[in-house]
């Protein structure tokens, strides 16, 4: 669509056809008769609506982290209530993530939920008891600030740690001026394995889980190893369209994902064996010569020469004063060439001897030759023994992937069994052999949006705000990176700091939207750590279980109540979306913005440090702060974005408000890595990952299968793998506590019929589950279903085992306390290099 056409549609027709009329009728049914005439089959008259007293607000859903496009209609000058707003999916046909899924549909249930946090709470009983008194914001903030100051002055600033799912920048506003680098997200229990695997093979900038995604609009075959694809909804929608066009969709998973109901193949596999499956597929592709030779030769490092010790042959090895970062290949002419030269025609199968700069000879061989040898261990038969997937199925998947020019999706949540980085490396090995990167129907690489952040830090420790304020931080290395050199964020390091005081003590912890008990493995250990803290503050929307253990609980604004601009992930083009405030909080909810909460704690503890980030005592009033601090920063971000794309900021603002999003650049195929190299040491897709080899983390750079180290392997007939996954309805910290979740998400333990029969367990029987590593025991009802592979038990995460007092005390939410939280049973094994944690476990199951 041309920009002018898009603009014409956007102003008047954000809804079109029957959807527009239907929305109008819905409005009329809600007593909004005046609004109905503005909804016609030709579109919606936004300006007319606004003249008549209605607001149209596009926003970004935040019921999970996917960030899909929603639209709300709100009555002007009316009190905030469910009756005065209507929320539905953004209907703009060009919106890359438009629509509302089951999680988004829980938003109206969350906004005024009985579980919504309404006032600041101060703990009055023992930790975990759930006894609080309501206190004023001033009292809560003053007391928290005094405690923070006490900790900083007694134990040092680094003793304060911070964690969040999505509000990292907001927490940095407090942590960095304090002098603590320790803002550590939940990544290690979500995406770390994938991030590290991608970084090792493609480099920084290509490692984020929302950067590389299948080109669903044109896909022919897609394999999802371990991903259920419940979100984002734009991807779900485009995948549905792809199915209509005949695309083959295959899920590899121990449990059957809900999305697989839709005309997809489900390949059940033994947990923790995906790497073996991928290497089995790679074996078939190589042995049957079903690979893209041009891609392998020119875009991967498989033709690069390796020495006998597994390290790459470099210019430094061959030439006096040579560069250690320049790698050697053998040309088809039989001459050594370096990878930064133009017009290389490499030999793929060379093996021989080269003379080094010191005059000695060294045996070298290509990475390809090493791969062929490596894959010899992963015949379909051998892979079948490991994975439980028939050899014929592995062979068929490999052939289908090649014949249909398919792709393997690179996953989102992947920290499960402790061997997960190799899964990502294995699937990217298959993608490298298929050579279907950045092509129509391939695995697309999304470029950055150029949207500037609110706060950032340079390598020299200089912290800068977009306003121009800046200061220097002394300590910049987070505690997790002192332990796990390759991690993007490992929160377990904070528990180590609390419990073992290593590498230094952590005594204070602040959480924003961090559901520790449903996020971090080994709940018993988490409780032990929390009990030892001097201060625990939780900021959230609804009363999570962690609130019961907190000294102070502060109510935060929900996405419907805030303005924010952010990039859109999991797309092919480059898009940015605007989250616009839809409504104030409901009556009785005194929620505040996360950033304001952080800045006010800072100001009350250290006013001069708050001034370093532009926050002063006259901003203690929230409305004043929004006008004088928040809105100018959002405007500066829009200005920076507009300047980066040579657009007028006012025009960008207007378009964002009118449509909810802007696509600055549609997908350009054939760019990465063909014309824009990866950021790996070689600039290529490194099937043989140089980085971990050169840094001494690994003996060789290939994906490898090894038994999951994260838990004791189940052996006896009543022992099982315990795996978990997210439901498309309650699969997030917030949606998991929504009223419909307890009815629409199965919180029973899934067992395969063969296992149930062997143990004498029938449908809905109660069983006792005991963690083999943690010893945690719990009772749960069983769903006997073929949706899980034999030998494995499954539960949905977030949707059961909520033990907070407010849930137990409210009969409307009693069902949320049933079921299991999988983290009761997982022991929190962390990979010593990648820092990737693991959510799966092994358990003993007996009839209760």
């Amino acid at each position: 669509m041309k920009p002018t056409e898009q603009q014409a549609i956007s102003r008047r027709k954000f809804l079109i056809g029957s959807a527009a009329v239907a929305a109008g009728v819905l409005l009329a049914d809600k007593g909004w008769v005046d609004a109905q005439p503005f909804f016609t089959p030709e579109g919606v008259d936004v300006e007319g609506l606004e003249r008549a007293g209605y607001l149209v607000r596009h926003t970004i859903c935040h019921q999970c982290g996917a960030g899909c496009g929603l639209t709300a209609l709100v009555k002007k000058d009316a009190p905030p209530s469910e009756e005065n707003m209507l929320i539905f999916g953004n209907q703009h046909p060009e919106h890359p993530q438009r629509g509302m899924c089951g999680r988004g549909a829980t938003a109206p249930y969350t906004w005024n939920s009985p579980l919504r946090l309404r006032k600041p709470l101060k703990r009055v009983g023992e930790r975990g008891e759930g006894s609080f008194e309501e206190v004023s914001w001033d009292q809560a903030l003053d007391e928290i600030a005094a405690k923070v100051r006490e900790i900083v002055e007694r134990d040092g600033a680094k003793a304060m740690a911070f964690s969040t799912h999505d509000y990292k920048a907001e927490m940095q506003l407090l942590a960095w001026p304090l002098g603590s680098p320790n803002v550590i997200s939940q990544a290690s229990t979500c995406n770390t394995a994938g991030v590290v695997g991608r970084r090792w093979m493609m480099g920084s900038g290509f490692d984020h889980h929302a950067t590389i995604d299948p080109d669903y609009d044109n896909i022919r075959y897609v394999l999802f190893p371990g991903r259920s694809l419940n979100a984002p909804i734009g991807a779900v929608h485009r995948l549905a369209k792809a199915r209509e066009h005949g695309a083959k969709v295959v899920f590899l998973n121990p449990a059957h994902p809900d999305v697989a109901f839709a005309n997809s193949d489900w390949i059940p596999c033994v947990p923790g064996t995906d790497a073996a499956f991928m290497l089995g597929v790679a074996h078939v592709l190589v042995s049957e010569e079903k690979y893209d030779e041009s891609f392998v030769l020119n875009q991967t490092n498989l033709p690069f020469l390796l020495k006998a010790d597994g390290k790459p042959l470099t210019q430094e090895d061959l030439v006096a004063d040579g560069d250690a970062n320049v790698f050697a290949l053998m040309s088809v002419d039989g001459e050594i060439v370096f990878h930064d030269a133009a017009g290389i025609q490499p030999e793929l199968t060379y093996a021989g001897t080269v003379t080094l700069a010191d005059g000695s000879d060294a045996a070298v061989t290509t990475a390809w030759n090493r791969l062929v040898t490596h894959l010899a261990d992963y015949t379909p038969g051998n892979a079948a023994q490991i994975t439980g997937v028939p050899a014929a199925t592995i062979t068929r998947v490999a052939r289908d992937l090649f014949i249909m020019r398919g792709v393997v999706e690179d996953t989102w949540y992947n920290t499960r069994n402790g061997n997960d980085t190799d899964v990502i490396m294995g699937l990217m090995t298959v993608n490298a052999l298929l050579g279907n990167l950045d092509q129509v129907g391939g695995l697309g690489v999304r470029l950055g949006s150029k949207l500037p952040g609110m706060i950032g830090r340079a390598s020299d420790g200089t912290v800068s705000l977009i306003t121009g304020d800046s200061f220097l931080m002394e300590h910049t290395k987070t505690i997790d990176k002192e332990i796990y050199p390759e991690t993007n964020a490992t929160f377990d390091a904070v528990f180590q700091g609390i419990l073992d005081e290593q590498p230094y003590p952590i005594t204070g912890l602040m959480l924003v939207g961090a559901t520790i008990f449903h996020r971090d493995p080994n709940v018993a250990r988490a409780i032990e750590a929390i009990k030892k803290l001097d201060l625990l503050v939780t900021v959230d929307i609804v009363h999570q279980e962690i609130c019961d253990w907190s000294d102070y609980v502060l109510p935060a604004e929900m996405f419907l109540e805030r303005d924010h601009i952010k990039g859109i992930g999991w797309t092919q083009g480059i898009s940015v979306a605007l989250q616009r405030k839809v409504t104030d909080p409901p009556a009785g909810v005194d929620a505040r913005p996360d950033a304001w909460i952080m800045l006010e704690i800072l100001r009350r503890a250290y006013p001069q440090r708050a001034a370093m980030v532009g926050h002063y005592d006259w901003m203690s009033d929230v409305a004043t702060w929004k006008n004088e601090w928040m809105h100018p920063i959002e405007e500066l971000r829009i200005e920076g974005l507009a300047n980066a794309w040579n657009r007028d900021p006012a025009e960008v603002r207007r378009e964002l408000e009118e449509n909810g999003f802007i696509t600055f650049q549609p997908k350009q195929y054939g760019l990465t890595p063909y014309n824009r190299p990866f950021a790996s040491p070689s600039g290529r897709l490194e099937v043989y990952a140089f980085r971990p080899v050169l840094r001494g983390y690994r003996e060789h750079g290939f994906a490898t299968y090894f038994d999951p180290p994260a838990y004791t392997m189940p052996r006896a007939e009543d022992e099982f793998f315990l795996v978990n996954g997210k439901s498309p309805i309650g699969g997030s910290g917030v949606a998991g506590l929504a009223f419909p979740t307890q009815y629409l998400v199965d919180n029973r333990l899934w067992l395969n019929p063969a296992d149930a029969e062997r143990l004498g367990i029938a449908m809905d029987d109660e069983v006792e589950v005991e963690g083999l590593d943690t010893g945690w025991k719990a009772k749960v009802n069983v769903n006997v279903t073929p949706r899980v592979i034999a030998g494995t038990a499954f539960v949905y995460s977030y949707s059961g085992g909520h033990r907070q007092k407010v849930v137990a005390d409210d009969p409307r939410f009693a069902k949320l306390s049933k079921g299991l939280a999988p983290h009761w049973f997982s022991k929190s094994w962390v990979d010593p290099i990648t820092g990737s944690n693991s959510n799966n476990a092994s358990v003993r199951i007996r009839r209760a």
């Binding site: 029957s18 959807a19 009329v21 239907a22 009728v25 819905l26 009329a28 049914d29 469910e82 539905f88 999916g89 629509g99 509302m100 899924c101 089951g102 988004g104 549909a105 829980t106 109206p108 249930y109 939920s113 009985p114 419940n230 909804i233 779900v236 929608h237 549905a240 369209k241 199915r243 209509e244 059957h256 809900d258 999305v259 697989a260 109901f261 839709a262 005309n263 489900w266 498309p728 309805i729 009223f739 419909p740 009815y743 629409l744 199965d746 279903t785 073929p786 949706r787 409307r812």
Partner: protein, 201 residues
């Protein structure tokens, strides 16, 4: 506005639901949209009969004869020979000229004959009014009376739902049923349901 048919009259339209199981991702959006659209007063209340939220759509998990996991979404089938209509002692349940099975609450005593006679078990009782509820709810009836799509069709992110006239050979439901393999539930019960399940491959 649709009208009530008298005995022996045939509907002018035969409006039907099509649920495409080959597209449904079981996300529950239609189930929740049904509640928030038609029964917003029940958003935080349990429907005790089904032990679920107060939606006119029920999800049933099952397994195919080949052992494949399946999900089934069930709602009023708007049967052409509806047992609920035939058993209602007061004439409260009726068919309109769109072929839709509807309830006139003014004539309903809450005797529950319709609930027990439905072979699809898709009716439930509102705990306050004590009257039976089912698809379509009041708001969706307003929508379809105006020739629009009901809430479940609008909310589906996967395009798995449709609603249209079987008597119109060019309607989207007619085209779908002509071109894709489909089935009806309890085909042999003699109810002639107008809820079609498109099957996957």
């Amino acid at each position: 506005m649709s009208t009530r048919l008298r005995k022996g009259q045939a509907p002018t339209k035969r409006m039907a639901h099509v649920w495409d199981a080959s597209k449904c991702i079981a996300c529950g959006a239609c189930v929740m949209a049904c509640t928030s659209t038609n029964n917003p007063d029940m958003m935080m209340r349990e429907e005790k009969g089904w032990n679920s939220i107060a939606s006119n759509i029920r999800r049933i998990d099952s397994v195919s004869a080949q052992g494949r996991p399946e999900v089934l979404l069930v709602q009023c089938q708007h049967c052409e020979d509806a047992p609920c209509l035939n058993t209602c002692p007061f004439g409260a349940t009726y068919m309109d000229d769109n072929g839709m099975i509807r309830l006139d609450p003014r004539m309903c005593s809450g005797c529950s004959y319709c609930v027990t006679s439905c072979p699809y078990n898709v009716r439930w009782f509102h705990p306050d009014s004590k009257l039976p509820k089912k698809c379509m709810g009041d708001t969706c009836l307003e929508l379809v009376d105006k020739g629009l799509q009901p809430a479940c069709v609008q909310s589906c992110p996967a395009g798995a739902r449709d609603y249209g006239d079987l008597n119109d050979p060019n309607s989207s439901v007619s085209v779908t049923l002509r071109t894709k393999r489909s089935r009806r539930l309890l085909e042999n019960a003699g109810t002639e349901p107008k809820y079609f399940v498109v099957e996957g491959s």
